[in-house]
């Protein structure tokens, strides 16, 4: 540490004292340096985020085919076409159902896992790693893995006595939920574990002295103190589920009978598969963006109300 101690800043007055000439150019230099360091971020955000957002807005009100390109404004035809699409409302309904089911199961399981591995020792270390390993896989890789795991040709799960994992709409939904729970439970467990470890032992001690049982401690001590971690998990999980794509594209391809088409899959299909209509896909993707913003605003609001 000896070398750094010689670098310790002199007292404020020794540099440019406020009010003396020289302090203003210094500030300007600092601001310039700040902008120079922030410039790459700003460029990326501008070219790959702001410009596309503006462009998608323009595409959504234009007749814009995949191969024909821009053929002029046609507002609001894309939006009415989207709402009239025969797959639109089934896709909305399915996405909502999938989101609710996934979020409830995933968070309940993640919380249970977090409580299970809360203490730090070698055994829980092994458990934590086991639960977390699937999170290292990509969702697409995990979906490919479960695709083989579920196929009648190669499945090792025959002993479960399930006829078909993906053959009926219900089976396809639950099989996909199982895949997603397997892939993400460890990740949410880790987030909740951070929250659990933020609760001080004194609180539990106080609850024990007051004669609280295990369930009461959980219900009236752990859960309320875990609220912000649970909120973060809920927001992440709801957002991720609303935008589900990979798992359904790979596992079910939207089948059977288009029963598992999600909204984002519909966006993809409109743009690149069948309809080849970028304008319509842009319109639907703007509706998805608005829905996502509304849902997240409501979630933030609900949280704030609860906290106050």
């Amino acid at each position: 540490m000896a070398p750094t101690s010689t670098l310790v800043a002199p007292p404020d007055g020794a540099q440019a004292p406020p009010g003396t000439p020289g302090s203003r150019p210094r500030n300007r230099m600092k601001a310039l340096a700040g902008w120079a360091y922030a410039a790459p971020t700003a460029l990326f955000v501008l070219i790959f985020f702001i410009v596309p957002i503006v462009l998608v807005g323009r595409m959504s009100v234009s007749d814009w085919g995949l191969f024909t390109g821009n053929e002029g404004i046609n507002a609001p035809e894309n939006f009415t076409d989207v709402l009239d699409d025969r797959l639109f409302w089934p896709a909305v309904w399915f996405t909502v159902k999938y989101t609710v089911v996934t979020t409830l199961i995933l968070l309940a399981l993640a919380l249970a896992l977090a409580m299970l591995v809360q203490e730090a020792n070698r055994w829980t270390g092994f458990l934590r790693t086991s639960f977390l390993v699937p999170s290292a896989l990509g969702l697409a890789s995990a979906s490919l893995l479960f695709y083989a795991l579920y196929s009648p040709q190669s499945t090792p799960l025959g002993f479960l006595g399930i006829d078909s994992f993906l053959g009926t709409p219900n089976a396809a939904l639950w099989s996909t939920v199982a895949l997603v729970v397997w892939r993400f439970a460890g990740f949410y467990m880790l987030l909740l574990l951070v929250g659990l470890q933020g609760i001080s032992g004194d609180v539990y001690e106080a609850a024990r002295l007051d004669g609280a049982g295990r369930w009461q401690t959980f219900r009236y001590v752990t859960l309320p103190l875990l609220k912000s971690s649970l909120a973060l998990c809920t927001i992440l999980c709801v957002t991720g589920s609303m935008l589900a794509f990979d798992q359904f594209y790979i596992l079910t391809k939207g089948g059977p009978d288009n029963s598992t088409i999600t909204i984002v899959q519909l966006v993809y299909n409109m743009a690149f598969f069948g309809q080849n209509n970028l304008g319509r896909a842009a319109a639907l993707s703007i509706l998805v963006l608005v829905a996502l913003l509304v849902v997240n605003a409501l979630q933030f609001r609900g949280l704030r109300d609860k906290e106050s």
């Binding site: 600092k30 971020t41 998608v56 880790l190």
Partner: protein, 272 residues
């Protein structure tokens, strides 16, 4: 004694759960080398499925190279941009700082699909269609909210004395960054780099939309396409082999860096 009675069922339950979580990965690894009908490995154990994979279209080697190039470029771009950006947001005040930071975070709020539709058109105009560099640039943009946020809080967590010491005259801010501050934020760098690598290696919908030339497909896309090579008949052996090739680097990296990853994550989450 009573503690033991409570503990034992809990241990059995937890151990069982751990086995359920490990089972699919273990099964894929074993099944990929075991004999199965309808695959390249019909009798005896061996690597027939990996041979199928190696000879599929452009060959697994080409897809591995594609994936590696995209992942490495994404990690480099993400680290460079987020270190400079995080440094700017943490240490300097400049007009527009808060707006830029919030807009960067806002990337998180916009669905991939909403951005990929216009990016498909935009990259065509920039001459970056079907290009691995274009793909890496887009993947970097998706990483920025997390990466810039992480680097900002990492720089802000550096003790004040070190920050001031690094910033006084005689040591330009860039040299201070390079020699004093970057080593101090190493856990953050590892977390950001690991996340960027895993995201780029595993991303599916971005190359699905942006890459139409199958020779330039990254590995997840190639393995997914491989299932459709013969109508109706899927070579599950080759799919399992593909999953193993996809999973191995992720699992190895994850296990090797687990300590850093969890620590970086926890310190970040606590401050966030």
């Amino acid at each position: 004694m009573r503690a033991l009675l409570i503990r034992t069922p809990q241990h059995v339950l937890a151990g069982g759960l751990a086995l359920i979580f490990l089972f699919p990965l273990a099964w894929a690894a074993v099944a990929s080398v075991s004999p199965q009908g309808g695959t390249a490995q019909t009798d005896g154990w061996g690597f027939g499925n990996y041979v199928t994979l190696a000879n599929y279209q452009a060959g697994v080697g080409q897809y591995l190279v594609n994936s590696t190039v995209v992942s490495v470029l994404t990690v480099l771009f993400t680290l460079a941009v987020s270190v400079l950006g995080g440094y700017a947001f943490a240490m300097f005040s400049f007009p527009g700082r808060n707006v830029l930071f919030l807009v960067t975070l806002a990337i998180l709020m916009v669905p991939y699909a909403t951005l990929l539709i216009p990016l498909y058109v935009l990259l065509n105009q920039l001459g970056l269609q079907n290009s691995l560099v274009g793909l890496a640039l887009v993947l970097t943009m998706f990483q920025l909210p997390f990466a810039v946020f992480m680097m900002r809080i990492s720089f802000e967590a550096i003790p004040n004395e070190l920050r001031e010491a690094a910033l006084i005259d005689g040591c330009g801010s860039f040299r201070a960054l390079l020699h004093i501050l970057v080593p101090a934020v190493k856990p953050g760098l590892i977390t950001v780099g690991l996340f960027a690598f895993l995201a780029a290696w595993n991303d599916f919908i971005t190359p699905l939309v942006l890459i139409s030339d199958s020779d330039r497909a990254p590995l997840p896309l190639a393995v997914a396409n491989m299932r459709q090579q013969v109508m109706g008949i899927v070579d599950f052996g080759a799919t399992q082999a593909g999953v193993v090739v996809l999973a191995v680097p992720c699992v190895v990296l994850f296990l090797a860096l687990q300590r850093h990853y969890v620590r970086g994550f926890m310190s970040g989450a606590l401050k966030g």
